[in-house]
Symmetry: C2
Subunit: 100 residues, 2 copies
């Protein structure tokens, strides 16, 4: 499996709008096992996104999907930047459809 | 919902053992919606744990469960430390049983 943990920063006052755009596109994308969008309770412009994909290729492919491209275009004016992004290698756990 | 993103560091050579202990205790704990255990691909002693709970109380309560206490005791000799831990406020996404 392939994972991502990232912190996204919105333009001030635009976090809820950004969250809604992310939320709408986060459906059953091919290869996506888990995609959690969270507010940072201590920072009104920060969102944390944690993702699990079957593999890195399915994540990369998803970025080219028309609905994802449309969401990126829509989200851009709300995004101030990306502060933290790491790749992980999820092994399993609870709530993953593919957990061993 | 209540979330945690944390980086745990194992004693050198003990990451797989630690991972296995965490993995075994990560079943349907009350209030746990998602618990993903991941290796850090760039650091042989690091694990990333991302958690989603119905609320902070259910996370706190879980720490007192006999099986969780037993796992903590078993894991302690494998743990070198905790490097990063943040609380989040998950809103939804894909793969959460309670996503709106």
């Amino acid at each position: 499996m392939y994972g991502l943990i990232g912190k996204m920063r919105s333009v001030p006052g635009k976090r809820e709008e950004l969250l809604q755009i992310l939320f709408e596109v986060t459906t059953a994308l091919p290869g996506c096992l888990n995609y959690v969008i969270a507010r940072d309770p201590g920072d009104t412009t920060a969102l944390w996104i944690t993702e699990v994909w079957t593999d890195a290729a399915s994540h990369k492919t998803s970025l080219a999907l028309p609905e994802v491209q449309a969401a990126i275009t829509k989200a851009k004016p709300c995004i101030a930047g990306f502060e933290f992004q790491i790749e992980t290698e999820p092994v399993g756990g609870f709530g993953l459809p593919a957990a061993k």
